[in-house]
């Protein structure tokens, strides 16, 4: 199935584009997608995504709604990744 991934803030700068379409296995979860993205873009692994999956330091929305990592994706989904920010 095909999904679209959108990158925000420093993810966008690191990946070098605002969005991309990907072919992914049926039934993939948000957490598994993040693994795929780490493989695809090494800069994400090195700079922003925690090594421990359950500690991954990233916020994710699916079709405009905030989701947890165990949520299963469907064909045509738009997944957005945005970094946590804490500055004031």
């Amino acid at each position: 199935m095909r999904i679209k991934v959108r990158y925000f803030a420093r993810y966008r700068s690191l990946v070098g584009k605002s969005e991309e379409e990907l072919e992914v296995p049926e039934g993939i979860t948000v957490g598994e997608l993040i693994e795929v993205l780490k493989e695809r873009h090494n800069v994400l692994r090195n700079e922003v995504f925690a090594e421990e999956d359950d500690l991954a330091d990233v916020n994710v929305s699916r079709n405009g709604r905030y989701v947890r990592f165990d949520e299963v994706l469907r064909d045509g989904d738009v997944v957005a990744l945005f970094p946590p920010v804490s500055g004031g």
Binding site: F8, A9, R10, R12, S13, S18, A50, D54, L55, A56, D57, N59, S61, G64, R65, Y66, A80, F82, P83, P84, V85, S86, G87, G88
Partner: protein
């Protein structure tokens, strides 16, 4: 009651929410926690709008490298006047019809009740999630709305927490890891995000429009991106 002077001063915004709305702003007490990059525009615009009482909370004194964004602090304040004192001095001269209170110190479990006391709304202008969660807990205990904002670089986010209506900050950002050391930030980024936070306060108090309840606004000014993520 609004004085003749107040009716004139706030004339252009009374056109939006009426005298009744302006009275509500005048009768409200809002805490700005963190008087830095976000706290500066937030406190400035709340003072401009005529919020009756503004409480400023911070423990730091301005440094030279703060001045690219913390626009309520000037060169004379660097290394000298604690941020709440520095900001209060300007706000008093900007709007003498409102009361500006200051607390110089860090919020803790022990002092949060006493410091925030009877505020109607809390604005989160902090730079760390540890203290944000303290505010979040307090807001839920006292059922006070909390307007969250955070910035980094050219990016920022805003959401408004209303206990009983929205998710808490802890629920939204359970995995948040603190970034160590200094982070990049441009003044205009804090200006945009802080202005949106001030707008949230005015919306909550006057009933104008729709506050960002169960919605996270994410903004990337480098790429002209404004997105609203549903949090339900």
């Amino acid at each position: 009651m609004l004085s003749e002077r107040e009716l004139e001063r706030y004339d252009r915004q009374i056109m939006i929410f009426g005298k009744e709305g302006q009275e509500r702003l005048k009768g409200s007490k809002v805490a700005v926690v963190g008087v830095g990059g976000l706290g500066s525009p937030v406190a400035y615009y709340l003072a401009a709008a005529g919020i009756g009482t503004i409480l400023l909370v911070d423990e730091q004194t301005p440094e030279l490298s703060n001045l690219n964004r913390q626009i309520l602090h000037w060169e004379d304040d660097v290394g000298r006047n604690p941020k709440p004192v520095s900001a209060k001095w300007k706000l008093n001269r900007f709007n003498s019809d409102i009361a500006v209170r200051s607390f110089i110190g860090r919020l803790t479990e022990e002092n949060v009740e006493e410091v925030l006391g009877d505020v109607d709304i809390i604005v989160d202008c902090l730079d760390n999630f540890e203290t944000r969660f303290l505010l979040d807990d307090y807001a839920h205990r006292r059922r006070v709305p909390l307007v969250h904002g955070a910035v980094e670089g050219t990016f920022g986010q805003v959401t408004t927490i209303v206990p009983g209506v929205t998710k808490s900050l802890r629920e939204l950002f359970p995995r948040v890891g603190e970034r160590e050391g200094k982070f990049p930030i441009l003044g205009a980024t804090a200006g945009v995000i802080g202005s949106i936070q001030a707008m949230e306060v005015v919306k909550l108090l006057t009933g104008v429009g729709e506050p960002l309840l169960n919605k996270l606004l994410i903004v990337d000014l480098a790429f002209n991106a404004f997105d609203v993520v549903e949090l339900r």
